[in-house]
Symmetry: C2
Subunit: 686 residues, 2 copies
Amino acid sequence: MNNLSALWSASSVAVIGATERPGALGRKPVDYLIRYGYQGRILPVNPRSSQILGLPAYPSVREAPGPVDLALIMVAADRVPAAVDDCVAAGVPVAIIASSGFAETGAEGAALQAEVVARARAGGLRLVGPNCIGAVGFRHRVLATFSPLFMAESVPFEPGGLAVVSQSGALGFGVASLALERGLRPGWVVSTGNDADVTAIEVLRALAEEPECTGLLAYLETVPDVTALRELAASGKPVALLKSGRSAAGSRAAASHTGALATDDRVLDGALRQYGITRADDVDDLLDIGRAFSGPHRPRGGRIAVVTTSGGSGILAADAIAEQGLTLAPLSEETRRELDGIVPAFGSADNPIDITATVLSDPTLLDRSLDAVARDDTVDLIIGAFCVMAGPDVDKAVTAFGRVADAYGKPVLVARTGADFLAPDAPARLRAAGLPEFPSPARAVRAAAALATAVSGAGAAVPAVPAPDGAVHAVPAADATEPALKRLLAGAGLPVPDGTSVTTASDAVAAVTARGGVAVLKAVVPGLLHKTEAGGVAVGVTADRAAEVFARLAALGGTVLVEAQAPDGVEMIVGVRSTPLGNVLTVGAGGIFAEALDDVACRLLPLRAGDAESMIAELRGARLLDGVRGRPAADTPALVRVLEALSALTADWPAGFELDLNPVRVLADGALVLDAAYTLTKGDRA
Amino acid sequence: MNNLSALWSASSVAVIGATERPGALGRKPVDYLIRYGYQGRILPVNPRSSQILGLPAYPSVREAPGPVDLALIMVAADRVPAAVDDCVAAGVPVAIIASSGFAETGAEGAALQAEVVARARAGGLRLVGPNCIGAVGFRHRVLATFSPLFMAESVPFEPGGLAVVSQSGALGFGVASLALERGLRPGWVVSTGNDADVTAIEVLRALAEEPECTGLLAYLETVPDVTALRELAASGKPVALLKSGRSAAGSRAAASHTGALATDDRVLDGALRQYGITRADDVDDLLDIGRAFSGPHRPRGGRIAVVTTSGGSGILAADAIAEQGLTLAPLSEETRRELDGIVPAFGSADNPIDITATVLSDPTLLDRSLDAVARDDTVDLIIGAFCVMAGPDVDKAVTAFGRVADAYGKPVLVARTGADFLAPDAPARLRAAGLPEFPSPARAVRAAAALATAVSGAGAAVPAVPAPDGAVHAVPAADATEPALKRLLAGAGLPVPDGTSVTTASDAVAAVTARGGVAVLKAVVPGLLHKTEAGGVAVGVTADRAAEVFARLAALGGTVLVEAQAPDGVEMIVGVRSTPLGNVLTVGAGGIFAEALDDVACRLLPLRAGDAESMIAELRGARLLDGVRGRPAADTPALVRVLEALSALTADWPAGFELDLNPVRVLADGALVLDAAYTLTKGDRA
């Protein structure tokens, strides 16, 4: 698939719409390619010029000397179809359409965009854009862009392993400029605009295949397809996304900006967790994570040791570790004893380890503490935090941190809350030592969390949880009743109450008697969705009342289901529905409260090992399962089995349905699906 | 009170423990004061030197030529008491004890600290510290500190209106160094260490009185007293706090760092909301807010207009505005029409207003759009957001933003997501134009939220909500029963069910009959806390069953309360308890769920106008009051009245109690306190 690599390593670039006119956008790519020393062939295309900036120009790309690896189309929208035809005819494999005037302007532009994509696909040409700012491969100096980023006389760069991909050209190149300024050494920047043919995620996947790539950052406004996201995560390269449109207002603004359908943000969140992809909060967060991705070491997990010279920094780090769901490494007995002998009495030998400003008079203190901590198997990653330290002291600290990171192969992130003028060489020295640096403990912790998430992202490659019985299960009938659904669920290994359908009062009495003399009776009426509200459910029915209750329920127009009365427990809502991103499982605690308090977790199906546990852990209401106010703890593993069996059953159901298990009651021992409803919705993947 | 101003404007500074020895901490303040051109008298004190760095030295501060406005004590802890005595004898009004070895080291150090404070107080000397790094007044070049911040040959500063106060010296001076580097022009930096006598909040109050002060930033680990915080807010100067110890682990680390009791973080959050003080998330956030405080204009509220050249930036801004609880300004019909005529078709004339990169070819586009927006009364603050723009384009934008900010007196915050190398003059030009600048839309929005909060902070001066009946109410008896408590509550204007206590079965039957033939019966047994669990509550009791139920409840050993059966509604938990910060009112929705999901809001008493409404709005469970799943909306104003009447009743109750109203049921019309319990706890303000 990787003909997309022409975007960053083309040996020849045609600029269609090139011009010499000062200030014109069509001049910039030619100017940039020349000034920044691109070594391949630059092919300006303009029917009204024979020479542009000293290079021969061609009336059409058909007439440019081949092969042309990459074309950058910058002509007005109405002339794009002809330019695309020319590229096809010239055998160009990839073209970037920078021009605006397509789907982002409305229906007419969308039609033009569809037309252009159709012509390209028919001709075997891949298209990036339209409505984008182009692509850059720093290593080969492929500056196929008109971004003002390169307008300065000279932008110094040293290509590294970080890739930046953005649907918004302005934000993509803005982030890239900040990455350059902050020493993150981006290797690639690609803007994909309207994602009409090649999508941003496809570009990310192609970049992940580049051996030099160490991490990927992206700004996205829409994620129409998560399969590519899963494949991206499976590449093993760490990924972070800044996805806008989280709020309703932002989502409206995104829809108006891109013309694309809004992504269900909660579903996307769930998918990203499954795939070990971090969702960045903001531009700085994205860049901080990129900085961590650039470091040479990877943690095995999320257990952090903090070594600080400032008690305050230690506290801020501990707060951030809790907030990010990481763990303060517990430290072994041996390490604690060792630290007790090293750390001054007015410091703290407990994690966060405060070695105090005494380090200024005794520099070995830092070395000895770091060795003790790095050697400890309970420590996956170390954060070294200090504030105002002047040049020579910073240098000593950098040496100590760098040594221990390399000696133990564990990442060390440095939080330095002090101005660069205090230690002007510090940023370069930290970079040289492979130590990612952050201006506060919280930002270091947040980047550590992204590293830990990326490691967990091996999850993208974990196989799906198999069905308990290995069987393939049928889809329910469109009008499946509660007993039919429950039989289907039971067949797939989900626990349902012992029940039987009855059609006569005497059978009802017998069924209640057979269930210990007290049971639940439910009306089974196709199309009756709100049974409880309609008076269709009676609990605690004794044998002597069974006939009377049967008569009342049967009067609603159907049969009656008699079920064993379930013990007390914690009620959960569980559901599966099809979405444009795939079938999604949702779980929440506490019935009506889960909805009202918006406390639900989602994952795409199929669930993988660990997904069900992590969904439950994500719920604030998970505390209800632990037992509150003296109630016994509920059988959470039984709930996990319910979710996994449900995943195996429904993962492949075709689009256009909603299955609600509401409630699933989690008992002290086991769980029971007490109710089930199945609704057809309009297909959403068609 | 403001003899604390010596900390930043002393005309003479004694350095007790001064030395010439290179590298020694005691050399630094003398060195800094000389090198940075302090114009007052520098008085080194050292019994073993007659001259230090060219200045005459004195064996004791008693022998230094007076008056001495400020002493900086840097001798070892065991010699601090004598130094304090010397300061008292010399009539020094304020001393900073930089020395460590006090409460932060354990019981012995705490005793020494208490001894030192006692001596100072007896002698009329105010003490800052111990265990701090000193104080700086940039305007008068009072560098009474040994912070490495001034070790560099020269740190350029231009004193502005921002004050930085910190219990942690390292973080305080770290933040100050970043403030200097980022052009925020701090005017004051004070570290207060252990807060043994003068507290950080007292320093903040003193700084708020300085006419040049435009805003205050603080890092705190403990807030033992919120009265001073309220007085600080009432000063009208905007304040932001970075308070660490939010998590359990952070709180433990803070307790071990400062030896102080942990502040109840949730109570502090509530108090800060009441007082219009922003709680910063992190160091960058604190500095961003400081940047906004430094701007010349203040918003009237939280309605934001976003004007951007990048659709992506607009979406990110909209997301952040939603997250921060601000409002995208709706814009008037007139403004919308005007913008429709200005903004290109492929941009957005709706807020966020995307004027697109067309601004590069038509610079008047920005001016015209900004005028339309700034003129609109629905706009309190404008965020101008752009990404990569090169020098001259940035200059034009800065001019346009600055003009409109000054013309309309509305704050304009600039989000520029691009490297400084693209527009090297931009930071200075933005600063000169009074335009606070941020690297992303979200950070600008967050700072805008702090400005809006500070304006709402007039709330600190709003009078308390008065008791509905103007009366002063008694405290309950220690063993107050439910009927006694409910009489007390009813007397204070809280709605309780119509009830009566009965002692005979026939009275019970009569009471039920009088209440419409169905009522609630409750056992009233002093000391029986969990009535429901003990079988002491019967609902839906009809007259024919009343005698039987009465007998069962009376058998529990007390009387029986007969109450009118309450209509359906939304159940809330409401409580008041004394805390070290004062009496605190708590409200949550959904009974057991409020606790399990940790969905409660707190405020210090007395409530002020608007507090009750804002507490309810803060609850995720507030949705339950709006009516979910087709249930009718509940009478939220009635709940507000309950909270306000409860505030008036309990604000002055002495420490050592807990009052639980659980549940308060909010009906379609009105509300009812269904249960009440009062518990004495051990006094926590003694």
